[in-house]
């Protein structure tokens, strides 16, 4: 079983190695990187390429670790007992399985995505140590241990909003997705817009990387913004020659709104462009 990338997702060699190491050694893989570098996509593509089912657990600020294991719905049981429902005698009717349980219980190996783990409370990762390490947990209500039939491939993403505890990090493999360089970016765009005119691709990439190098931007444009922008360029049928003229330091590229999402950035950019023109 080996992840080799898919025709929809461009992966670098060390990313593939990281995924394969995590699969082989059955360890969770922690993926970090700038927004828009395809961290969440990775899990989907791993699942697709290995032909496994994907379970997604999206973490929010209110998410508790217990919710990933199971929840005991005491209130419905109480209500059923009042109504004399037969179900009430079996407590397992009121245990709601969480994503981890589902993944442990699945007949075949699955991919489990724990998305944006840094959004949750600072202690959240610590509460999952044992569960991710041994791939088992104890259900008090049923008085039994749930053990993974097949250890799922666990992929965890983080946006670096909070630092993760060391004990948790020790149990994971770690990969940092760097921002793609021009070559990789070309192949990413190729995947999304096949048959894009060579010159349009080249000049738009030049503009894009020029923009990213602009000092002082609050939010640098990311891959997903580049893809949106190219979509617009194609839709508007912009002449690549126009882009080539648009040296980012001198003029504002067409449809720049798709790339710069922060009004302060747009202002900064306009001011720089103005100054560059004046100096000419």
């Amino acid at each position: 079983m080996k992840f080799v990338g898919t025709d929809k997702y461009v992966s670098t060699e060390d990313l593939r190695l990281a995924v394969n190491a995590a699969i082989t050694l059955e360890k969770p893989l922690l993926v970090k990187g700038e927004p828009g570098t395809g961290k969440t996509m990775l899990a989907e593509e791993v699942a697709a390429s290995l032909g496994m089912k994907l379970l997604q657990w999206h973490v929010k600020s209110t998410t508790k670790a217990q919710q990933g294991l199971y929840e005991y719905d005491a209130v419905s049981r109480l209500r059923d007992s009042q109504l004399g429902d037969e179900k009430v005698h079996d407590i397992s009717n009121y245990i709601v399985k969480g994503k981890l349980w589902e993944a442990f219980d699945a007949g075949e190996r699955v991919v489990l995505l724990i998305d944006e783990i840094d959004k949750a409370d600072i202690e959240f990762p610590n509460d999952l140590l044992q569960e991710l390490d041994r791939m088992e947990f104890f259900v008090y209500e049923l008085n039994k241990t749930i053990k993974a039939k097949q250890r799922p491939v666990v992929i965890i993403t983080s946006n670096n909003e909070k630092e993760l505890p060391d004990a948790f990090l020790r149990r994971c493999f770690f990969h940092y997705i760097s921002f793609p360089d021009k070559d990789t970016m070309t192949s990413i765009i190729d995947v999304h817009f096949s048959g894009l005119k060579k010159e349009l691709l080249k000049s738009s990439l030049d503009v894009f990387f020029g923009l990213r190098e602009l000092p002082g931007l609050k939010k640098k444009p990311t891959t997903s913004e580049l893809l949106d922008w190219i979509k617009l360029l194609v839709a508007e049928d912009i002449d690549p020659a126009l882009l080539r003229e648009a040296d980012t330091r001198k003029t504002i590229p067409p449809l720049a709104g798709a790339l710069l999402k922060n009004e302060q950035d747009v202002q900064l950019f306009e001011r720089l462009a103005f100054m560059a023109r004046r100096d000419r």
Binding site: E13, L17, A21, L25, A74, R79, L169, C172, Y176
Partner: protein, 390 residues
């Protein structure tokens, strides 16, 4: 052999543990990779390094262990011909190679390099003869001479770099990232005051039993809001002057406090608290707020934290007009006292090491005004301080 590698990485202060090292060995045993050094580099990084801020240290340790890059001093006297030759072959085009041949071939080039290295005693940059970086001499890194031999900073033109770790792509992650805020957050967490506010979404078991009994056994479910941390904190930061030495640790404290306390108010002052404070350091002379107003605005259930080194002239605290910046009608001590009367839970965090405190008279005075509630700005000090606040 790899045990040495493990210790080398630890020597470069990358936090690796035995468990992670065993993981790496396990991965090697499971044959995730086959022999290639590049793959080994990636695999070792995946298993041993868990934060991108350590990547640079790891790269240096890796380079050091595998002797891919040696500092020029170490090269003195002995030039690994084979290695340089190989590297050059990878870098040069056929034409360039032909040119080198015409110049006398590799052996000639290497000989000259040896001579130069012997002549040269120190690290050198620029210029056109000596070995170093960014010059036009045939030897050194990032040069323009087509037959140049790259030493050290090999820059890859094909994604498959011979020495990825030598590029040190992650250099600036190393000091950019704030370190240690997690520990501070954990220390600040002890300051908790739970209260139930907001949407009722938790089952109140006691109340439910009570009202069910009252309801003749028919279920009457009672819900209540979940507990939230309702602690409110007001912080005053000393800025400028002698505080410049402590900016980093204060920034860490600030960012930890910001993310830990939902109700956080903060103001700045200089040296000692006087009749006005400010919120924005760029406009400290324009937009000032009266301290009196601040004390009136935020009720007494706020916890008060001063952050400052309290290192100044004693006059600045004890005499009217003692401030170095302006004429103050009331002495600083009076304002401190005022604040302490408004908020009875208060501490002073001092970035100066505790053992230095009695060398400064002003620190003693402030500590006295604070009724001995001054704590050093260290993890242990914060923990003690938070205990004093609860």
């Amino acid at each position: 052999m790899l045990v040495d590698f493990f210790y080398k990485i630890r020597a470069y202060q990358v936090p690796v543990t035995i468990r992670e090292f065993l993981d790496l060995l396990g991965a090697m045993k499971a044959q995730v990779i086959y022999g290639s050094i590049d793959d080994f580099y990636s695999l070792a990084r995946i298993t041993l390094v868990k934060d991108e801020k350590h990547f640079d240290k790891f790269d240096r340790a890796f380079a050091d262990y595998f002797k891919g890059v040696q500092s020029l001093d170490e090269l003195m006297g002995e030039v690994p011909d084979e290695w340089l030759k190989k590297l050059a072959e990878k870098n040069l085009s056929d034409e360039e190679k032909a040119m080198i041949e015409s110049l006398g071939g590799f052996e000639k080039l290497m000989e000259t390099l040896k001579e130069r290295l012997e002549e040269q005693k120190k690290r050198h940059q620029g210029g056109s003869k000596w070995v170093g970086t960014a010059g036009t001499s045939p030897f050194g890194a990032y040069g323009y001479n087509p037959e140049g031999v790259r030493i050290g900073q090999h820059e890859s033109r094909h994604r498959r770099a011979v020495k990825v770790w030598d590029k040190r792509e992650f250099k600036n992650f190393d000091d950019e990232v704030e370190i240690g805020t997690r520990n501070m957050k954990v220390a600040l967490r002890r300051l908790r005051k739970f209260a139930r506010t907001g949407l009722a979404e938790e089952l109140d078991l006691d109340d439910t039993i009570k009202s069910t009994a009252a309801n003749a056994g028919y279920l009457d479910i009672k819900m209540r809001p979940e507990k939230h941390n309702r602690v409110k904190v007001i912080m005053f930061f000393d800025v400028g002057g002698s505080m410049d030495d402590h900016i980093r640790v204060v920034e860490e404290l600030f960012s930890a406090a910001r993310s830990e306390f939902k109700h956080l108010e903060y103001f700045y002052f200089h040296n000692c608290l006087y009749e006005s404070v400010w919120k924005d350091n760029r406009r400290r002379f324009g937009e000032r707020m009266s301290t009196y107003e601040v004390l009136q605005t935020f009720p007494s259930d706020y916890k008060l934290i001063f952050v400052g080194d309290a290192t100044m002239s004693p006059y600045e605290i004890t005499y009217p007009g003692g401030s170095v910046e302006h004429w103050n009608e009331e002495a600083g001590a009076v304002w401190l006292q005022c604040a302490l009367e408004t908020y009875n839970k208060a501490i002073w965090l001092n970035p100066q090491p505790e053992r230095m405190w009695h060398y400064h008279q002003s620190i003693e005075i402030v500590n006295q005004v604070m009724e001995k509630r001054m704590f050093p700005l260290t993890l242990e000090g914060i923990t003690r301080g938070i205990q004093a606040l609860t």
